[in-house]
């Protein structure tokens, strides 16, 4: 491994657990421990914990913070005026193309943005360049650690860590909490797996203790980025870089729901109006493959002709089938449309389905 890769505060824990480490967005991250299939199923059936400390974290505060963010993010910030409320939203450029997707949390004291590790500097620079003087920004990425705790038994385990009087925040809400009365954390009822659970923000000096505390429960397994990808793809959740990038707009990407039509005055809004009126030329579709694993870059065909390429592609451990995303001409985007994917030397049928792949 190169010396120039960044390590999260949990790096030594991953190595001690025998994780296979890889380069992800410049970070040295665990792709798997026991194995992707095993970790995937452990999260769906019990509890999985994920080191997501590499994700970008910014605090936005000051008098002008609300108006600034509402004018810069696509989703309607008025929907999260309640203290603790959070929402999924997009950061667009003037052309209406996607700089990043992220979650913004209203902690009551300020706004917390958690966004993709790969876009940390792009997000920061864009926000900083556009902010007015009465807004302060702090990059908390290096000062904090972040652990996701996901699975049907997650809340049971967390009650044992936070104490009998602890109640989890409501879904898409964030609240402070204290472990054993002394480790201060923020607990967000959000996640990227489709299972119930939370994401916990802690100071980087406390994150190892939290990780070990969670792992001390036999029902908890450490989960790497490999299973994180199969879990989110089964749910039809998009991944920046695979399912959308700076060349894509939210309408084509199937994320128009995060850009309410009634909201005006944010960066990219006019461009979106035009795209909505004209209708997108291509659309992101979800493709189910009966036998075989479609992978990034594989050709997608319609009646023998190449019409797109696979963006996200993997195996679904829960379904035992292949799953993929691809941008295809809008007229071929209806669920039920039969397409094909060329998997190296074979061509396999691929059916457009309405996400999620895994119906819970």
């Amino acid at each position: 491994m190169s010396d120039s890769l960044i390590r999260t505060p949990l790096y030594d824990e991953h190595v001690a657990l025998g994780a296979r480490m890889v380069d992800f967005a410049g970070f040295e991250m665990p792709v798997q421990y026991a194995g992707i299939l095993e970790e995937h199923l452990a999260t769906r059936e019990s509890v999985g914990i994920f080191d997501v400390s590499h994700m970008a974290e910014f605090r936005i505060s000051g008098e002008g913070a609300f108006d600034f963010l509402n004018a810069t993010l696509t989703n309607d910030l008025n929907k999260i005026v309640d203290i603790g409320a959070a929402q999924y939203t997009l950061l667009l450029n003037d052309e209406g193309h996607i700089i990043d997707d992220l979650i913004v949390y209203n902690t009551g004291l300020e706004f917390l943005i958690i966004s993709n590790a790969s876009n940390r500097f792009q997000d920061w620079n864009w926000l900083y360049e556009h902010k007015p003087d009465d807004v302060e920004m702090f990059d908390e990425t290096d000062r904090t650690g972040l652990i996701a705790v996901q699975g049907p038994k997650a809340l049971e385990v967390l009650k044992q860590i936070f104490g009998p009087s602890w109640e989890p925040p409501r879904r898409f809400h964030i609240e402070p909490a204290a472990i054993e009365g002394k480790i201060d954390v923020l607990v967000a009822r959000t996640g990227y797996t489709g299972e119930d659970g939370v994401e916990i923000v802690a100071h980087k000096d406390d994150i190892v203790a939290l990780w070990r505390m969670l792992l001390s429960f036999p029902e908890v397994s450490p989960i790497g980025l490999g299973a994180r990808d199969t879990l989110r793809l089964e749910m039809g959740y998009s991944l920046y870089g695979s399912d959308m990038d700076l060349t894509r707009d939210p309408i084509s990407a199937g994320l128009g729901w995060a850009c309410p039509k009634s909201k005006e005055g944010y960066i990219g809004c006019e461009a979106l109006k035009a795209i909505r009126e004209a209708g997108p030329v291509v659309r992101l579709v979800h493709l189910l493959v009966d036998k075989g694993i479609p992978r990034h870059g594989y050709p997608v065909l319609h009646e023998g002709k190449e019409i797109g390429v696979v963006g996200s592609g993997s195996h679904s451990p829960s379904l035992g089938k292949g799953m993929a995303t691809a941008y295809v001409p809008a007229e071929l985007a209806e669920p039920g449309t039969e397409l094909e994917i060329r998997i190296r030397k074979r061509t396999v049928p691929a059916t457009v389905v309405k996400p999620p792949f895994l119906v819970k």
Partner: protein
Amino acid sequence: MDMPKDRKYSIDHEWVVVEGDEATIGITEYAQDALGEVVYVDLPDEGETFAVGDTFGEVESVKSVSELFMPVSGEVIAINDSLADAPETINDDCYGDGWMIRVRIENESELADLLEAEAYLASIDE
């Protein structure tokens, strides 16, 4: 690392059990461990013939795809059908139930180029 002595090995991590003029072929424990959990195996049809070194199929895990190389030349006379529904058998029992194909050996002299267990172990130990 398990390396049964009743068989020969190729440098590409396949094992070969010879019975008369037939050879049963699979992948070694080293290979299945490196792959991770196998989710898909692509095997040839009965009747297909291959030369030594030819790609006869593929084995896939979530994160990687590996080609399978013929350790000897021959005609495929049987394939392990159970792997279509239970590819993980390759991880669970790579030397037994995880066998992949059986071929009729075309050229017995090629067997001399295969490795004994100790030589194969030495080749992967660097």
